[in-house]
Point group: C2
Chain length 142, copies 2
């Protein structure tokens, strides 16, 4: 490793040390559209995912179901370019403003994951699928 | 309990049964300003907190530190009136649009909890305190 790279890794480690990781080494990370303010999704990060997010300037999560790093958009192309990164007052939640490539954050092919809304009759789907998930992923959904 | 109340409780129980509570019976709940789209905070709900949120049309969280229901604003007056309630595609995150009374969501007296921003030099506080926490709570902070 070059001296500059070592220094960069040390710096990022200092940044991730500021986060209050939970007992599993994770915190929730919210992705918000940097222009509209729309909340796109919530996923989870560990220290490595946060370090990669900062280094690569794109959202990298920790997939709890797959037990590995998840570079958002690696299969679908729906990359989230980082525009702003914050932690909350307790340092146990991350908020990112992102540019959502393709305008689709959800694995269902919808613009965001919050398409199930409560009305007088119960939970209702309130957003259309913009792109067929089979087209985005083949048979391997995120 | 009256027949109408029983029916209402049964209905709300059906709604909370749709949520994928984690092993501790909790899910993260995001509060977003209903007009500006600003993400105000993230806290946690259990089924009872969600039921109260729906019944009372205000944000009610589960305080993990205090181990009890937390009616947001009960001490500070900074109540969050519910305008819209959603769950995500996996039913394991709640998103609320709220009207934030007093324009202050954070226990530090700032408008929202995400006032620590990453820049080239590290984490930096990027928002001012709007109201002294001691004035909001006396000595008992939320």
């Amino acid at each position: 490793m070059e001296v500059d790279e070592e220094a960069a890794m040390r710096d990022i480690s200092t940044l991730t040390d500021s986060v209050s990781w939970n007992e599993k080494g994770l915190v929730p990370a919210i992705a918000q559209d940097w222009q509209t303010g729309e909340v796109l999704m919530l996923a989870w990060m560990n220290a490595q995912a946060l370090a990669c997010t900062i280094e690569e300037q794109r959202a990298v999560y920790w997939s709890r179901s797959r037990g590995k790093l998840w570079r958002k958009g690696e299969e679908s192309g729906n990359v989230q370019h980082l525009k702003d990164l914050r932690i909350d007052c307790d340092a146990d939640t991350i908020l990112m403003k992102v540019e959502q490539v393709g305008g689709i954050a959800c694995h269902t092919g919808r613009a965001n994951c919050f398409f199930t809304q409560l009305d007088e009759t119960g939970w209702q789907v309130c957003a259309d699928v913009k792109r067929d998930p089979d087209e985005m992923y083949g048979k391997n959904h995120e």
